[in-house]
């Protein structure tokens, strides 16, 4: 009779939000894998209806404390798309700068505080700090450099308040931005060193057959703009997203989960961006990636920690580039006259593609909203990752198997609070 084992983690540590996982193994096969998200649903899509379109960036930013900029940017782009408005020049560059700050903050916290302890065999960052203090210190300083960008441009570092449709309430002077440069240059170099350090970690030998999905822009590594592309040939305008991706609900999770219509699971996030946009990284960052053993195709989810460090370095390069070239815009925002429309926006949140769709009436009141965060899109792939690990999970001792399963989930830095922003509420009336 083949061995059976059930791995259950009742409260996933070092992820954002509240979730658990159950894996039932029989022989070298997983017969059941359930990523159970029990954080209560938050109904954002429902209570956006009836609110003013101008409020949407600030309201949706409250979905997440670690990636509020992503929500603000996807919301702004969606509403501006409906109105045929496209920012150019300094305002567009400032949005990229703000987004770079958020990637640095979010990736920095994940790499050094949440994920590196897995690779080095520590239960948490506090235990790891005793032996690897200099790297933790570097990580904290790197994260703080990202916080400084968001604080300066966003008005404060958590839940920024300076973003509005059409731009910003206030734009910085050249001098205000230039103050950041010395620290950003230090942090860019430090991030590259950290990538070299992390390349010495032991990565479980896994190659997954993902369909990778990310934005792709003609010239840039994507933050705010681009077409939705996949490693199996999707190449869509953002407005076509709903025709190709579908959300569904399962009984054991409070989060909707996404599939590609007619195909199934897919993966968005750093690994997808890297594979689909390697040629859009700066030459120096491409060289860094190659020097740490990262070249596309890379479908080992455990190497996402390396990709995040490469992306942090790229984000610092991008921030420095924007600041060095910055000329303040003539006005902090362009006018956004509202009329009835439907608009679509997708940006690359730290964890992956973040899709928004809004319809609003002539008075600018939201009549319909749809938000699809990256963690919802990655849930099926996270469960498939655990299935792929089944032979290893059954082979090793239970405690080690539990740690490996947790680590595999953290590869994708899931944000459970984002994933539970919405739950379809069905009311049956007699």
């Amino acid at each position: 009779m083949s061995e059976t084992r059930t791995i259950r983690v009742d409260y996933l540590p070092r992820v954002e939000g509240e979730g658990s996982v159950t894996i039932r193994l029989e022989g070298d096969r997983a017969t059941e894998v359930r990523l159970e998200i029990f954080e209560p649903p938050r109904f954002f899509e429902a209570f956006l209806r009836g609110r003013a379109a101008r409020e949407v960036p600030d309201i949706t930013s409250r979905i997440c404390g670690i990636c509020p900029v992503a929500y603000m940017m996807s919301a702004c782009h969606a509403i501006e798309d409906g109105l045929g408005i496209r920012l150019t020049g300094a305002l567009r560059e400032l949005r990229r700068l703000l987004y770079a700050g958020e990637w640095i903050e979010s990736h920095g916290l994940h790499v050094f505080m949440l994920h590196a302890p897995d690779f080095l065999g520590y239960p948490d960052a506090m235990a790891m700090a005793k032996d690897h203090g200099p790297w933790i210190r570097k990580g904290l300083r790197i994260k703080q450099a990202g916080n400084a960008i968001v604080a300066l441009l966003g008005g404060r570092e958590i839940h920024p308040i300076n973003v509005r449709l059409g731009g910003f309430y206030r734009t910085p002077s050249r001098g205000e931005l230039a103050v950041l440069l010395p620290e950003l240059r230090w942090a860019r170099d430090a991030s590259a060193e950290c990538a070299s350090w992390a390349s010495s970690f032991t990565f479980p030998a896994v190659a997954r057959d993902y369909e990778l999905v990310a934005l792709r822009h003609p010239h840039e590594y994507p933050f705010c703009e681009g077409r939705v592309v996949s490693s199996r040939g999707l190449d869509l305008a953002v407005a076509e997203y709903d025709a190709h991706f579908v959300e569904e609900q399962v009984a054991y999770s409070n989060a909707l989960r996404s599939r590609i219509v007619g195909r199934g699971a897919y993966l968005c996030g750093p690994l997808a961006r890297f594979n689909l946009n390697f040629d859009r990284l700066s030459p120096a960052v491409q060289q860094l990636a190659e020097s740490v053993g990262l070249t596309p195709p890379c479908t080992n989810p455990f190497k996402a920690i390396l990709v995040r460090l490469v992306e942090i370095t790229h984000a610092f390069e991008e921030a420095i580039r924007v600041i060095e070239a910055y000329e303040p815009p003539p006005a902090p925002y362009v006018d956004v006259p509202l009329r009835a429309a439907t608009g679509f926006g997708a940006t690359e949140a730290p964890r992956g593609l973040l899709y928004h769709r809004y319809s609003f009436d002539d008075g600018g009141t939201i009549t319909d909203a749809k938000i699809v965060p990256p963690t919802s899109q990655n849930q099926l792939s996270i469960e498939d990752d655990l299935r792929a690990l089944a032979p290893e999970l059954i082979r090793i001792p239970h405690a080690a198997a539990t740690r490996l399963a947790e680590q595999a989930i953290r590869n994708h830095d899931p944000c459970i609070s984002c994933a539970t922003h919405a739950l379809r509420l069905r009311v049956e009336r007699a």
Partner: protein
């Protein structure tokens, strides 16, 4: 007197959780910022960096406890109330202090002034009457503890 940094953590939009910020505002009103640097932090990860710099730190923070509005001097362990202290949104004061202790080669010069609050259940602007009444008492305690040097291993 050498520099002393008084640090508040908390969110004004989380009701009584913002009591540290209110204590800092009280100290500013008193003009007590001469040798004091008053720092209002949004992200507890910054607290680690601050603790690792030289100089004394007085942390003012809300602590879940009863009855609400008591001014106490909690230990770092009493600030770490969650079973999983480091998560994306939950890098709390207790975790920050533990991390700073692990990273520091010498004892931290840290004192903590806490104000007990009921568990926050919903976003709210402003303090409850009992916690608001404790603000000047907590500010007095901050000024008092600055006179008593204590280190944290």
């Amino acid at each position: 007197m050498s520099r002393v940094r008084v640090v508040a953590l908390g969110r004004l939009a989380a009701g009584d959780d913002g009591v540290g910020t209110a204590v800092l505002a009280d100290l500013r009103r008193r003009g007590a910022s001469g040798d004091l640097e008053l720092l209002d932090l949004a992200d507890a990860a910054h607290l680690v960096t601050i603790l690792l710099e030289s100089g004394r730190v007085v942390l003012v923070d809300a602590v879940v406890g009863t009855p609400p509005g008591r001014v106490i001097e909690p230990t770092p362990e009493e600030l770490a109330v969650t079973p999983h202290p480091v998560a994306l949104h939950g890098f709390g004061a207790g975790a920050a202090i533990a991390l700073a202790c692990a990273l520091s080669s010498s004892a931290l010069e840290l004192q903590i002034v806490g104000v007990t609050i009921a568990p926050p259940v919903r976003p709210a602007i402003g303090l409850s009457p009992e916690v608001a009444a404790s603000v000047p008492i907590a500010a007095d305690r901050v000024l008092a503890v600055i006179g008593a040097r204590r280190t944290l291993a």
